[in-house]
């Protein structure tokens, strides 16, 4: 999409101000990076709404509040509806020049919060919905969500002799959002921070509902060294298992279209959650990836 009309935020001019600190996230938490960067772009006139999930659990432990800006925890299914109420309530009081943002996990977005999110997009609420995707219900101890990929070992999809972890594929959240003809939707990764910042900035300047699906690694749930968080989120994109794209004005756009992929097998097997995968399992994953890319390359120019 055309970003030329918006003043770009780069490492050179991004604010030194921090809006999310003193929280209790694990070392190397990708979700907390997603929240931190987004708030630097959105600024202090922002209401943040977070459903139950890791980011609310680590950020609001009384009396140690981790948000400098206004923030509130919603019910687990109710982040998009509470954010709608915040946005509409502030407008009804005559407030100007403010943003309302949701930071919700993959489970809070693709599963239990999907109905409220769909309703908010239908009403074209002036909110930005950021889904930080760590591919499981982390806060409750790594259970399978609708965005858990095929083959993942979680505490509810054990990897045994009979079943090798999760047997369903990731729900296609980005296209589900696009199917609503949402004002703006994008996928991003904390492994590509400039791209993510640009997309948050685009959402900030979009009237109506925006949705950003950001891939956000979780060392605790994935079984990776904490210092590899950003690297692994980059490799997910480079291996083609996640993709960077945008949707606006009924058009899809692939932001990154690599000629060749980083080895999916390497990406997978360095994570404890995928250690059990057989070559057959990896073939299934690669085949699914290739079909997806064939489709995207043909339809999303």
């Amino acid at each position: 999409m055309n970003n030329t009309d918006i003043k770009r935020i780069t490492p050179k001019n991004i604010t030194d101000k921090e809006f999310f600190y003193g929280h209790k996230a694990c070392a190397g938490c990708g979700g907390s990076i997603a929240v931190r960067l987004a708030l630097k772009v959105l600024g202090e006139r922002t209401f943040a709404v977070l459903p139950a999930g890791c980011m609310s659990a680590v950020g609001f432990i009384f009396p140690q509040m981790a948000f400098v800006n206004n923030a509130i925890i919603s019910t687990f299914p109710g982040s998009a509806s509470m954010a709608s109420g915040v946005s509409v309530g502030a407008r009804a009081l005559g407030l100007k020049d403010y943003k309302t943002v949701v930071f919700a996990g993959d489970g809070g977005t693709a599963d239990i919060g999907l109905q409220a999110l769909s309703g908010a997009i239908d009403r074209n609420e002036d909110i930005i919905y950021v889904c930080y995707d760590n591919e499981a219900y982390m806060n409750t101890g790594i259970q399978k969500s609708g965005l858990t990929p095929f083959g993942t070992k979680t505490t509810t999809t054990p990897a045994g002799k009979n079943i090798h972890g999760a047997q369903s594929f990731k729900k296609n959240m980005f296209e589900i959002m696009a199917a609503h003809e949402i004002a703006y939707a994008a996928t991003a990764s904390i492994g590509y921070p400039q791209d993510y910042i640009d997309k948050i900035n685009r959402a900030k300047h979009t009237k109506g509902t925006s949705f950003i699906h950001v891939y956000a690694s979780c060392p605790t749930g994935w079984g990776i060294p904490t210092e590899t968080t950003v690297q692994i989120a980059k490799e997910a994109v480079d291996s083609g298992l996640f993709y960077l794209a945008e949707y606006q004005n009924r058009k899809f756009k692939l932001n990154k279209n690599p000629k060749s992929f980083f080895s999916a097998k390497d990406y997978l097997l360095k994570q404890a959650r995928f250690k059990h995968l057989t070559d057959d399992d990896i073939n299934i994953i690669e085949q699914q990836r290739d079909e997806k890319w064939e489709y995207m390359r043909e339809h999303w120019k």
């Binding site: 432990i61 009384f62 509130i72 299914p77 109710g78 509470m82 407008r91 009804a92 409220a116 769909s118």
Partner: protein, 396 residues
């Protein structure tokens, strides 16, 4: 000068009471028999008569969730629901009271599935008695309208800051028409100033709300919530007086007594059935029987003090309710008996369960309830919990 009167239904009275209270945002989802209220409110927003935002939420869960968002930025929120919808927002009910968001909600009392039934009873709201909401039960459309206005004043009081549920019997009140006096907007504005709360997010004073606590702090929050509910008793009584002084309608605050002064047998009621019981009280009084009626207006906070005061001078108390807690008895009855247990020589008490799923309750049914109470006073054994108007014989 005579005040404006309109021939309207209970649902319409609620809509007008809401309009007069100037909410900033309405978020609601339709369900019979609440629908007329939200339809009228939509029309008022469309015509500009009501300057509010109407949010077409996709469910009751979202209606409550949105209302909390509205309240959390210091705006006035209204919602309305019934039955399945009320249960669907159950998570939000506890959340709103814990968060101290003074949302006002109309609940059209309706039966709960299964079996499906759109008709009235009080099992929906009574099953959520512990959700931390103030619960009032009204008797007619006028009281419904007046209580919406009072509700905001009570709920938003800084010593209360507790959400408020106005219950009116499905169909019997929501869909029947009566002449209702409409308060003047100017006078309502004098009575109910705009919403002010310290408990909000703002750019002048940013806050992190709806946080979590460890076991080291949680109990203090629950204690405060309970205190606020008790604080509301004085506020309820004061607001009733202030409303009466201004609009010439007093409701009695926590309860309303009828011919209780020298009564030996008193029936306790909840909601619209009060009108019928009042007629039977008159009839029995004509027959020389010393009977009275205590209309329980508030179930939370509970009018314990008022019930105890009355109970000290009577021989028998009947509790009529459109509700049952399976495996025990009527919930109102349990609450009343809890109050009675705090006095020596408490009167005997009987429970009359009726009207569930919209089953008719006739005047003669109520007459017979009083007879049963008199028989009990005489020492004849009566069933403690009686199902009124059962279509089949029971083998108990």
């Amino acid at each position: 000068m005579s005040n404006k009167k309109l021939f309207i239904s209970g649902d319409e009275a609620v809509a007008i009471g809401t309009k007069l209270s100037r909410p900033n945002v309405i978020s609601a989802y339709p369900i019979t028999p609440q629908t007329v209220t939200v339809e009228r409110l939509s029309e008022m927003v469309e015509s500009g008569e009501l300057k509010a935002e109407y949010m077409h939420v996709e469910s009751e869960h979202s209606a409550m969730s949105a209302a909390m968002g509205v309240s959390a930025v210091g705006a006035r929120a209204f919602t309305a629901t019934s039955s399945q919808g009320l249960l669907y927002m159950a998570e939000g009910l506890h959340y709103a009271s814990g968060g101290r968001y003074p949302i006002v909600m109309m609940n059209a009392n309706r039966s709960l599935a299964l079996p499906w039934s759109i008709y009235g009873d009080q099992r929906d709201s009574l099953s959520l008695l512990d959700s931390g909401w103030i619960q009032v039960y009204v008797e007619d459309a006028q009281e419904a309208l007046d209580m919406i206005i009072q509700a905001y004043k009570i709920a938003e009081n800084k010593d209360v800051l507790t959400p408020f549920m106005i219950n009116l019997d499905g169909f019997v009140l929501t869909h029947t028409y009566e002449l209702v006096e409409i308060p003047e907007q100017e006078k309502v504005d004098e009575f109910l100033p705009p919403f002010q709360t310290p408990n909000k997010m703002s750019f002048e004073e940013p806050k992190n709300l709806a946080f979590s606590t460890t076991p080291a702090d949680n109990l203090e929050y629950k204690y405060q919530q309970n205190r606020a509910m008790f604080n509301s008793i004085n506020v309820i009584n004061d607001v009733d007086k202030e409303f009466g002084d201004k609009f010439e309608r007093y409701y009695g605050g926590m309860v309303q007594e009828y011919r209780c002064d020298d009564a030996e047998v008193v029936m306790l009621t909840l909601g619209s059935i009060t009108g019928t019981v009042r007629m039977i009280v008159d009839k029995l009084r004509d027959e020389g029987k010393k009977v009275g009626l205590l209309k329980i207006r508030y179930m939370r906070p509970f009018p314990e003090k008022e019930i105890i005061k009355l109970a000290k001078n009577v021989k028998a108390i009947g509790v009529v309710e459109k509700d049952i807690s399976f495996g025990y008895e009527g919930t109102v009855f349990t609450n009343v008996n809890s109050a009675l247990s705090k006095i020596d020589n408490a009167p005997l008490s009987l429970n009359f369960l009726c009207g569930m799923g919209g089953r008719d309750v006739s005047k003669s049914d109520i007459y017979n309830m009083f007879i049963s109470l008199f028989n009990a006073v005489k020492g004849e054994k009566q069933k403690r919990v009686q199902f009124i108007n059962m279509g089949v014989e029971t083998d108990e």
